[in-house]
Structures are given as structure tokens and as C-alpha cells.
């Protein structure tokens, strides 16, 4: 790296990563009168021209070769299951897919927009109260978030109205409403748009789940059911069920992404400057190590710059938020041997599994006709919505017919025992492609002492910086959860009238070579105690008070649902604290 970086003019706020979080924070702070610079490592891209079809429906380019994702030839993570192993770089992204480029990972998301429930935010307290002190496996490190559902409700609401989320409320201010999820925590008002259309597979699932006494409903979706104009004045279109949602981008302005819901407003504000192709190397600290002076980055031409700023927001993908703190020396790195330190602690994930239900040739599922988020699901086994006494685990999963595509290269369900290639495999694909319902079991992930993130001692990125090292395996608690709930989903498959039902519960060890979920959470968790959290309840660093770390990196453990809705709520919650508390009187918002 050149010895002399060019020092730029100081700004009020520098934002690392211009995805959904970065766009919201930048928009709010620029509108409040602050000079904001957004640094994005990837390229600028918009619905027109970058996301237009037919090119955007190229399954080989986007789904298989993952054109919208972080380029693992430049930077990746190293992975191992246990601290006794040597971690190796994930050279081809498979099990999780961090995006890159303007708009971040929400460009390629499915639009599944959930809220967590009350008990999730006070999980440790809740489990102790309901099941007693000795219920948990001793290695678990679950904890309370430092915020409550009630704190976040107005911010969930604001985020959903930004996105235009389509759904049916099951609980408005305590009133349980037919058609929605009766288990959900109370919301202040109805969803901005009505639920998505139900697919045939969803209708089959609904009937079967109802017959077993469960409470099916259409999952909330930020692929919209009808045109919508959000409070920022952005107009969105209705989803056309093209079946190229996740891993691809939307050509129709129908999926809620930064590009469709907020970026045009942000980019029109002269107080905001977007710089793409800028790889932030570190957050710079002054000699006290308690105050950030800005960030250093390398642009696409390889030139190094120092961008001084009064306030630094890191809003990169969860894993990269943690890495940025470690590279910058902010906070004490976690040491699994002693349990001391916080940065990298409580990395958690998502425990997913599925059930394949194979039907006869007269039942036409048409899996290709799909939205990213038009499933029919139940929350009867999510979170603590059922009694865990005697079950030996905490946590849960939502279960549903949530199939977002039937794309030709990668979607070919076949019954167990089918050869993996050759003529018999081909015959089985032809036989089952249009006659299979995939039920998804989307489960929580507890944090435990052995799972953590740190810097790899060996492998470096294209800029010479250490890669992030992931040490992760499924906690026994979560494998027991997966087995129990996958069995329940098998029962639903049988009730659907399938001729064959194959349950695939999650088994260890965790592998990085099979897609499971991009819901990587934790590592820079929020909380009330600086000994067990990296940021306080406002997402402000305990150690460097002019650094805010906003991302799913803040989750102390992961819940039963997709994390984006909660991330949006936390973002508006943090923005509120920034505008109304921090920027009026910079300093620690919570005494350490």
C-alpha cells in the first residue's frame, strides 16, 4: 500500500456499505442537514439497465455463478467447524451468499419480511422464567438484546411501509384477526398492501395444516401484491411471479430494494455523495483509541484515500461489519478458550431443513410460477409458540410451502434413493419436477461458546488484509429442534395426500458447500453489558462512541424468521437515536 494516502476534506458522516441500512441512514442524516459520504465496494447498478430481462433471468450467470455476490477471488471467509481445525478459504460461495454492489444483498433477496416476536428480544430471561435455570445446554451463550419488541414496533412499522410489504395482520393492538398469523406480536396497524396470491402448493399446504389444527396464513412479502407508493414517494409495481427472485434482481420495480424504495431520494440530495468501487480498509482511530477520525479506503484504481469524518457508520454485510471492527482494532476480540472478549462472539446462523412431498402425475404444481415470498406457512412451531418443556431444546421454526422458483438448472427434486446422475436420474427429474411440493423448515439458531468469528492468521484478501475466519458447527440444541419440527412437517406432507414424503432434517457437521441460508448473524452483538456485547442498545460501539455498527451482526442469536425485517427496524431505531440523541450531543448514549 502506498505510504501516502490522499487526505480528503472532512465530512460529517461516512458510511461503509451502501445497502439497505446504509441507504436509510444516509437518507435520514443527509435530510437532517449533515454532509454524508457513502462508500460502496461494488458497482453502481439500477433496475434500468442492469436488472432488465432477459439477461437478468440467466440462471447460469446469476444463480450458479452468482454474479451479484461478493467476488470470492478478491475477498472471502475462511471456514472450519472447530477451533482445533485449520480453516480454509471458501473459494466458491455456496452455503451463504453475501451480495456486493449498490443496494447490497437486498438486491438479490426474496422479500420475505418478518418480525421477530416478543420473547426473541429477551430470550435468556424468557427461557429462565418459563423453563427454569437449568433448561439450557451449558455451552449456550444466548442473551437478551437490550431492546424490546415494543421499542422496535414503530420502527418495524416504518420499515414495512417503506417497503410496501404485502400481508395480512393477525394481531392489531391485541385484536386477533382472521387470515393473519394469530401467533404474531401485536402490530400497530395493517400491512401497507394485501397479501400475495396463494400458489396451488400453498393451497394444498393450507388445507393439510388446517386439518391438523395448525394456523396457516400467507407469508408477508416485499414482492408486492399490487402497485404501491411509499412515504418517500417511490412507486412500486406488482410482482409478476417470474420465478427469478433470489440470487437475481427484479426487472419490474416490484421487489422492495434500496433501488426501488429509497436510493433515488438519497441520490437526489446534494448533501450525499456516493462513491462506488471503494474498498474500506479500516476505521481510523486517534491516539486514545476511543475516537474514530474517519476511514481509509482504496478506490477502483488502487489509490488510497483517507476520508475524515465526525461519525462513522458501518453498514456492511453482517460478516463484514465484524471484520471491519477486527481490522480496525475496535473492541476486544473474542477468545473462545477463556470466553472473554466480545468482537466475533455469538456468531449464529439459521437452521434450515426441508420436506419433499411427491405427488401423482395428475397434481400439477407448476413450481416455476413463483414469487420470492408467496408461501403459505404456519408459526405454530416458531419461537416459543409451543411448549418446549420436555423437548430438550429451545427455539423453533416456521414451516411452509415456500418455494420461490422452479429454475431448470438447479431445481430438480427427486425421491431419496434416486441415482445422482445418468438415465435414472433424468427420468426421475422428468417424473417429479412438476409434481413435488417442497416444504421449508426455517429454524432459529442459538449462539454457543465454540462458534465465533476472528481474523484468519494465514489467508489475506486482494488488498493484503486478513480474511475473516468462521468457526461454526450446529449446536446440539438446534439439531434436536430441527429433528422435532421436520417430523411435524412430514406429518403435514402426509396430510397433503402425497404419495411419498421425504423429510430431510438438518444434520451436522455444518458444511460450507451446500446452500442453506444467507442469514449470517451476530459477531458484533447488541446488549446492555459491555462484557457480553460490542454495541449498546442503540448500535453504538461501547469502545468508540462515534462508531455505529448497524447490521444483523447485532443479533445476539438468530430467531425463527428471516432477519431483514428486524434489521430494518433496528436501522430506524438507530437512526432515531442518532438524530434525536447522539447528533444533538455526541458521546456515549449509554454509560459503560
Amino acid at each position: 500500500m502506498p505510504a501516502l494516502a490522499q487526505r480528503l476534506k472532512e465530512v460529517d458522516v461516512v458510511i461503509v456499505g451502501v445497502g439497505m441500512v446504509g441507504s436509510i441512514v444516509a437518507k435520514e442524516l443527509a435530510a437532517a442537514g449533515y454532509q454524508v459520504v457513502g462508500l460502496e465496494r461494488g458497482q453502481a447498478r439500477f433496475t434500468v439497465p442492469e436488472f432488465q430481462s432477459p439477461a437478468i433471468h440467466d440462471e447460469l450467470r446469476f444463480s450458479v455463478r452468482k454474479a451479484l455476490m461478493q467476488d470470492s477471488a478478491l475477498e472471502t471467509q475462511t471456514f472450519r467447524n472447530q477451533a482445533s481445525q485449520v480453516a480454509l478459504p471458501i473459494r466458491r460461495l455456496e452455503s451463504f451468499l453475501p451480495g456486493t454492489g449498490l443496494g447490497g444483498s437486498m438486491v438479490h433477496w426474496n422479500g420475505q419480511t418478518w418480525r421477530f416476536t416478543r420473547s426473541d428480544f429477551r430470550l435468556a430471561t424468557h427461557v429462565r422464567e418459563r423453563y427454569g435455570k437449568s433448561f439450557l445446554d451449558p455451552e449456550l451463550t444466548i442473551q437478551d438484546w437490550g431492546v424490546t419488541y415494543e421499542d422496535l414496533e414503530p420502527h418495524y412499522d416504518r420499515f414495512e411501509y417503506l417497503l410496501g410489504t404485502s400481508g395480512k395482520a393477525g394481531n392489531i393492538q391485541g385484536r386477533i384477526l382472521a387470515g393473519g398469523d394469530p401467533h404474531e406480536a401485536p402490530r400497530s396497524r395493517e400491512y401497507p398492501t394485501p397479501p400475495q396470491k396463494e400458489l396451488f402448493q400453498g393451497a394444498i399446504f393450507r388445507k393439510a395444516a388446517s386439518s391438523l389444527g395448525y394456523h396457516p396464513f400467507t407469508q408477508p412479502s416485499s414482492n408486492l401484491s399490487q402497485p404501491y407508493t411509499n412515504p418517500e414517494g417511490m412507486k412500486l409495481n406488482a410482482c409478476v411471479f417470474c420465478g427469478f427472485c433470489e440470487r437475481h434482481a427484479c426487472e419490474h420495480y416490484a421487489k422492495s430494494t434500496p433501488q426501488t424504495v429509497i436510493l433515488p431520494v438519497l441520490l437526489a440530495n446534494p448533501r450525499f455523495e456516493l462513491r462506488t468501487g471503494c474498498q474500506v480498509q479500516r476505521i481510523n482511530l486517534d491516539s486514545t483509541r476511543q475516537h474514530a477520525t474517519g476511514v481509509s479506503y482504496v478506490d477502483a484504481a488502487g489509490r488510497e484515500f483517507e476520508q475524515p469524518a465526525s461519525l462513522v457508520i458501518t453498514s456492511a454485510f453482517a460478516l463484514n461489519n465484524v471484520r471491519m471492527l477486527l481490522l480496525s482494532g475496535i473492541g476486544t476480540p473474542y477468545d473462545p478458550a477463556t470466553g472473554k472478549g466480545v468482537v466475533g462472539r455469538n456468531y449464529s446462523y439459521q437452521t434450515t431443513s426441508n420436506v419433499a412431498s411427491f405427488f401423482d402425475a395428475d397434481t400439477h404444481i407448476n413450481p416455476f410460477m413463483a414469487s420470492g415470498s408467496s408461501g403459505t406457512v404456519i408459526n405454530d412451531f416458531a419461537a416459543d409458540n409451543f411448549d418446549h418443556g420436555g423437548l430438550g431444546f429451545i427455539g423453533g421454526a416456521y414451516v411452509g410451502a415456500v418455494n420461490s422458483n422452479g429454475r431448470p438448472i438447479q431445481y430438480h427434486p427427486v425421491p431419496p434413493g434416486t441415482p445422482a446422475w445418468g438415465k435414472s436420474w433424468k427420468q426421475a427429474v422428468v417424473k417429479h419436477y412438476n409434481h413435488t411440493v417442497m416444504t421449508s423448515i426455517h429454524g432459529s439458531s442459538v449462539s454457543q461458546r465454540q462458534n465465533f468469528l476472528d481474523l484468519d492468521p494465514t489467508y489475506r484478501d486482494a488488498w493484503g488484509q486478513p480474511l475473516l475466519r468462521m468457526t461454526f458447527d450446529f449446536p446440539a440444541n438446534d439439531l434436536r429442534m430441527s429433528a422435532y419440527i421436520t417430523n411435524k412437517a412430514v406429518d403435514i406432507g402426509k396430510a397433503m395426500g402425497a404419495t411419498q414424503v421425504a423429510g430431510n432434517p438438518r444434520n451436522g457437521p455444518y458444511t460450507s458447500t451446500q446452500y442453506q441460508s444467507t442469514h449470517n448473524t451476530g459477531g458484533a452483538v447488541m446488549g446492555d453489558d459491555p462484557n457480553t456485547s460490542v454495541v449498546n442498545r442503540y448500535l453504538q460501539s461501547w469502545d468508540v462512541s462515534n462508531v455505529f455498527v448497524i447490521g444483523a451482526s447485532a443479533y445476539p442469536q438468530n430467531a425463527s424468521w428471516n432477519p431483514t425485517g428486524t434489521l430494518g427496524a433496528l436501522t430506524y431505531w438507530a437512526v432515531d437515536a442518532l438524530k434525536n440523541k447522539y447528533l444533538k450531543s455526541p458521546g456515549r448514549l449509554v454509560p459503560a
Partner: protein, 204 residues
Amino acid sequence: MKWLTAVTLLAVLPRAAVAAVAAPAAPPCEACHGAHGEGMAAAHVPRLAGQAADYLQKQLDDYAQGRRDNPVMNNFAKQLTPQQRAQFAARYAAMSAPYLAQTAALDAVRLARGHKLAHQGDETKRVPACDGCHGPDGTGVPHAAPYLAGQSAEYLAGALKAFQQGTRKNDAGELMRSVAERLDDADVAAVSGYFGSLSGAPDH
């Protein structure tokens, strides 16, 4: 717009065709849409040859049930049974016809604007490319969206205006209304003229 269309239509209808309105057995499609479904571009009458059968049937059903408004077509469609509507749709879907010469040539600027809207869209107006739904070069996606290539430019402009003004509302998910409301008059003329200038797929 719809009145203008209707008046234009009535003006060009041969006397025999008007008389035939009363005879439900044989609606005089040919009088306006041509013996081979080639349409009558100057009179805003769309080309039907090779158009997807389910699209044509939906339009006939919508005319019959009042979901799409056009006095002439409402009148004819109402006289048909659902089965007859399906038969007419299938008949025109199976036809092929030569493409008609355009009534007015587009200047290069308009052609370029039409080409951009058709194939690329417009980010500042949040208009996706027409091709995204209507298929490569606007040649249509059966079951999903009608072809535009080779369609009467006058008809296309009229349809866009009708979506824009909300006098036509039979588009699924308000997809066409959402797009049309973001186009100005020059856009409508450019994109309609562009598609009108194309010849469609060989089998249309």
C-alpha cells in the same frame, strides 16, 4: 379516446358489417380485422393474426363482461357464447398475415427513444423495458403478454393512452397502468411507432 375510437370504427365499417351486428351467429370480425387478421392500422384496429389465443379470449371475455370498454367490441362480444369466444380466439391465433406498411414513418430521434423504452426501459421514469414482459423484440410471450411487434402503431398508442387515463383497466396487477402513467405523449408516440415499425415473429 374510446369515443374517438368508436367513431373512427363506425366510420370505416362497411354497411353490411353494421347490419350484421344484429346477427349473433357471425360477428363481422373480418370487416375491420381483415380476412387474415391483419387489422386496419390507420383506423386503430389491431392486428390479431398469430396473437396468443388466451390473450384474445381474455379480451373477448372482458369486452363481453364489461371489463374492457369499446362500444363496438362490447356489442359484438356480448352476442357470443363463451365457447364461441374461445373459438374466435383460436381461429385468429392460428392465422398468419403479411405485415402492413406503416402509415407514418418515424424520425430517427423518436425511433431511438422507442428502441430504448422497448429494450432497455428508463430508470428516471421507473419504466422497465417492454421486452421484459412482451418478449424479445416485443414478439409476445404466450399465456403472459401479447406481441407488440408489427402491431398497429395507432392501436398501441390508443391502448397506452387508455391505460394512462384509466379507461382501460383489464391489465393483471395494474401492470400496464403502472407503466403507462409514467410515459409522456412523446414516449407513447415513440414506443408505439417503434413497435409498429417492426415485423413480428415469422409465424405471426
